[in-house]
């Protein structure tokens, strides 16, 4: 139903219809003032933003009650990306679970895998070899840089800083290229497995990683040049999305948001796992507790990650990358040769033709999976967004009884109303961007 008398020609103009709750407008673009004129001075508007909206950081729906341009009430609606990964894991073996959980927080797949594997390993009561530990740290820190770059890029895009977006995604492409070289895939790697990692790093990894560090060292300061001193950037972010420490603790917020409120809480340092206690790095903090502080922390954390990557490279000693336990590790070690193909013919011949027991073991491990002693474990790690915990329950079988991920996006999003109520609509966007939610992880 049209609200104006003359025939409508503007395809982006607002349309409206009467409902039992009042008149509902659909706005897909066009002139906001025209829209406001139509509401005939009604100051209180309820806006439905999302779930498909370029500024909501994914399929997140915001229900904003506005008085003029001030947000008086904000409610978040999630679940649009619920995929049932946790349920699906209950019908797959423990190893197959990795391929599912890696798709949860799709910007931090290696963190999902690590949390899941650490939890599985605690249930199994095994320790992974030193080299596998170091490879995990190495991959996670590369991944952290990529994730923070997306946070900056999409955050910049949502605030209109398009060069921030293009630069951020350009840098992230370096990360993805490197991860593709190291693990075979850009995302959803399924590289980290219970017991270690699936295969050793390819030849030439050290040069590639060192080159990556060099490139990033050159380019990361560019963000300071581009954004940190930018007046518009500062005005959009400073004092926006304020959440002090007590609010963070009450709402369970972790990660850069908690650290921007002044608490140096980084699980890599306060509760080290995978040998993080041997790495020398800082946990940057701030006390401003606003969006700008979180932006600064993310940039600084990327530099710290580069330091960790360098140290991890130095710590890489030759050795196995999978536990020796034949009940967990596959006898036929899968690897990709220089030609990009799978195992060498000799290797396959040996496994299939000469080693009957290896063949049986491999077959049993792939089809049945290994058994995990009954019990439960909760292992938290520091993902780019905060505490990512994997709560796994086993009943002694070859499949998990329950897989639950405490995803930081899910928890941190709860703080969005506290950050944005009382502010302007445009500040909601900035506050959300500083939360950096990933809906795949939030909805799982």
């Amino acid at each position: 139903m049209s609200t104006t008398d003359e025939p409508r020609t503007d395809p982006y103009a607002a349309s409206s219809r009467e409902t039992t709750e009042g008149r509902v407008y659909t706005v897909t673009g066009g002139d906001w003032d025209e829209m406001i004129d139509q509401t005939a001075g009604d100051e209180r508007i309820v806006i439905n933003m999302g779930p498909q909206h370029p500024s909501t950081h994914g399929v997140l729906r915001l229900v904003l009650e506005l008085s003029g341009e001030t947000v008086t009430d904000a409610r978040l609606v999630i679940g649009y990306l619920h995929t049932g990964i946790e349920k699906n894991c209950e019908y797959r073996t423990w190893t197959q679970g990795v391929t599912f959980v890696t798709r949860m927080d799709y910007l931090a797949p290696l963190f999902n895998e690590t949390a899941y594997c650490l939890s599985t390993e605690r249930l199994l009561g095994i320790e992974v070899p030193q080299r596998a530990e170091t490879i995990r740290v190495l991959l996670m820190e590369i991944n952290r840089i990529g994730s923070h770059l997306v946070a900056l890029a999409t955050g910049g895009m949502e605030l209109g800083a398009l060069t921030g977006m293009t630069n951020g995604f350009r840098e992230r492409e370096e990360v993805l290229h490197l991860l593709e070289f190291l693990t075979g895939l850009r995302m959803n790697h399924a590289f980290i497995r219970p017991g270690g990692v699936v295969q050793d790093l390819p030849t030439g990894h050290e040069e590639r990683i060192r080159a990556f560090i060099k490139v990033m060292r050159e380019r990361l300061p560019g963000f300071h040049k581009l954004l940190t001193g930018n007046r518009i950037w500062r005005q959009r972010l400073e004092g926006v999305g304020y959440l002090p420490l007590d609010g963070c603790l009450a709402l369970g917020v972790t990660g850069p948001i908690l650290r921007s409120a002044g608490l140096a809480w980084d699980l890599r340092q306060v509760d080290p796992y995978l040998g993080y206690e041997h790495y020398d790095f800082e946990v940057p903090t701030d006390t401003a507790a606003d969006s700008f502080a979180r932006y600064l922390l993310r940039v600084e954390e990327m530099s710290e990650s580069l330091k960790i990557i360098e140290q991890a490279l130095d710590r890489l000693e030759p050795g196995p990358v999978m536990v020796e336990d034949a009940k967990i590790a596959w006898p036929a070690r899968l690897s990709i040769g220089a030609d990009g193909m799978g195992n060498s013919l000799e290797h396959v011949r040996k496994i299939m033709g000469q080693s009957m027991e290896s063949l049986i073991h491999h077959f049993k491990l792939v089809t049945e999976g290994f058994k995990v002693p009954p019990g439960q474990a909760y292992v938290p790690i520091e993902s780019p967004r905060g505490e990512m915990g994997a709560h796994l329950v086993s009943d002694g079988g070859t499949r998990p009884l329950r897989v639950h991920f405490r995803d930081p996006s899910f928890v941190n999003l709860q703080a969005a109303p506290a950050m944005s109520e009382g502010g302007m609509v445009s500040d909601v966007i900035a506050a959300l961007a500083s939360l950096d939610p990933v809906m795949g992880g939030c909805d799982r």
């Binding site: 619920h82 699906n88 019908y91 369970g252 009954p374 439960q376 909760y378 329950r402």
Partner: protein
């Protein structure tokens, strides 16, 4: 859906039962919890109940049952098993109560909580916490739901405990037939002392009510909504317990073991691959 392919026989034995381990000839009796609604405290008395040829619960273990009993080895039942493996039985797992000393800071937390609970004159530690289990370096308290909120408040506020951070609340469904099959699991974190503690409340599926922790830990809001959505556990006292991940008009609670995974058989190289929940599981 079944019967068209060569492995139809083994799949038909698991039809309609998402945990295919229970032998079809004794439906319902193979599970450790078939003794009915026995609580955590009197679980040991289930030893008197006859299940069949063999006792399926470890008689020496009391406390919350967390698992199901198993029979057989290869996921096949009802066939002419001559190997003897099909008769293997494994009792349901129940985490054993831990004895003092628990080791590390665990004793201190129990002592401090005991003292703090005694100070304010309510139920004592033994009433609030039915069982203490230390497993794999993690401490779990099986909590009586009547005292959950008070216990959580004490853990949060007492200066010697300071579990000021709630990592999350979620549910676990141990499957049909297990006594008190629904568990509400809360992970607490003390940032001050860098300790983690798990509170677990076991619930009957017919009385799936748990007090809400939102008034103590506001972060539990969405966690409890998710647990309600996924498991159908009602958190009494929650400000607005609505669905959060599933659509508002959804029927059922997907993470219950009785809720099917769904999925359809897939044709692959002239064979029909059954959906994941109907494939053979080896446990």
């Amino acid at each position: 859906m079944s019967g068209e392919t060569g492995d139809g026989a083994e799949r038909s034995s698991t039809q309609g039962d998402e945990k295919p381990k229970i032998t079809p000839e004794t439906p319902g009796t193979g599970v450790g919890g078939a003794s009915g609604p026995t609580g955590a405290s009197n679980a040991s008395s289930a030893g008197a109940v006859a299940f069949g040829p063999q006792e399926l619960r470890r008689p020496d273990v009391t406390g919350a049952v967390a698992g199901r009993a198993r029979e057989g080895m290869f996921g096949i039942g009802g066939s002419g098993d001559t190997s003897g493996f099909g008769g293997l039985r494994l009792p349901a797992y129940a985490p054993a109560p831990s004895e003092r000393p628990f080791g590390g800071w665990f004793d201190e937390v129990v002592d401090e909580t005991t003292a703090a609970l005694a100070d304010d004159g309510g139920a004592d530690f033994a009433t609030c916490v039915q069982q203490v289990t230390v497993d794999r370096g993690e401490m779990t308290w099986y909590v009586d739901r009547e005292h959950l909120v008070r216990l959580a408040r004490t853990l949060r506020d007492d200066p010697a405990l300071r579990f000021e951070f709630c990592s999350g609340v979620s549910g676990v469904d141990y499957g049909e037939g297990v006594p008190q099959q629904l568990h509400v699991v809360t992970h607490l974190l003390s940032m001050t002392y860098r300790r983690r503690l798990r509170l677990e409340v076991a619930l009957e599926v017919t009385d799936a009510h748990c007090p809400s922790l939102v008034e103590v830990f506001p972060t539990a809001d969405w966690h409890e909504r998710e647990t309600w959505d996924m498991f159908g556990i009602v958190f009494d006292g929650h400000p607005s317990l609505t669905r959060i991940l599933m659509p508002d008009d959804w029927n059922g609670h997907p993470q219950r073991k009785s809720y099917p995974l769904g999925g359809i058989p897939v044709e692959y190289h002239d064979a029909e691959i059954p959906p994941p929940d109907q494939r053979r599981a080896y446990t």
